[in-house]
Subunit: 118 residues, 2 copies
């Protein structure tokens, strides 16, 4: 069956959450949002392209920083309301310079930083 991004379930803003996972390490890198057009662009260009909610514009990940995400595979979930994007990540995924955005953990009730900018 041909994939049609518009058949996915988007929220009231026309967006769907996209989890980026490093295709090699399995690390979860970040979560951002896509609309149907950014999904189509991601598939056609091979460069992972989100929709920036703050800028209300396409966000080709790494276009400015160089920390691009090369698409390996796009997957979607049972409810068709979430994407999993397997990527080859160049450089750090997080704008803080850390390898991924999930660098704070809750341990014994406290917030602990578990990675540093590279």
């Amino acid at each position: 069956m041909a994939f049609d991004p518009t058949t996915l379930r988007f929220n009231e803003a026309g967006l769907i959450p996209a989890i980026a996972q490093d295709a090699t390490s399995g690390d979860v890198l970040m979560l951002a949002w896509m609309n149907a057009d950014s999904i189509a662009q991601t598939l056609s260009s091979g460069k992972v392209t989100y929709w920036s909610r703050s800028r209300a514009a396409f966000w080709i990940k790494g276009e400015t920083s160089g920390n691009v995400q090369e698409l390996v595979e796009l997957r979607f979930d049972c409810d068709e309301d979430c994407l999993l994007v397997l990527v080859n990540q160049t450089g750090p995924a997080c704008h803080t310079g850390r390898p991924n955005c999930f660098y704070r953990a809750v341990r014994d009730g406290d917030v602990v930083e578990i990675s540093s900018p590279v």
Copy 2:
């Protein structure tokens, strides 16, 4: 610094997306939603507890099916608007009986099922 769930950034419905990842395999299992109370319950009980948007009720994952998620570690991202929950998953995570919810991939423009119910 003590962790206070209420300081996270929730959406207009008071919810935050939570990515569940298998702590051993690294597989991304599912994405569901939590509110501040379900985060607190998850931390205190050690049983991953979401907020069911369809039922508008706490959803202790696996309470009915037995396919529970034991909390290993809760992390949150740079923007404080997404959670990563590392878990020990009992049985399949997906209600379809598959190991995880992301069992459909887009390959050469087509939708391909990449796992079956176990």
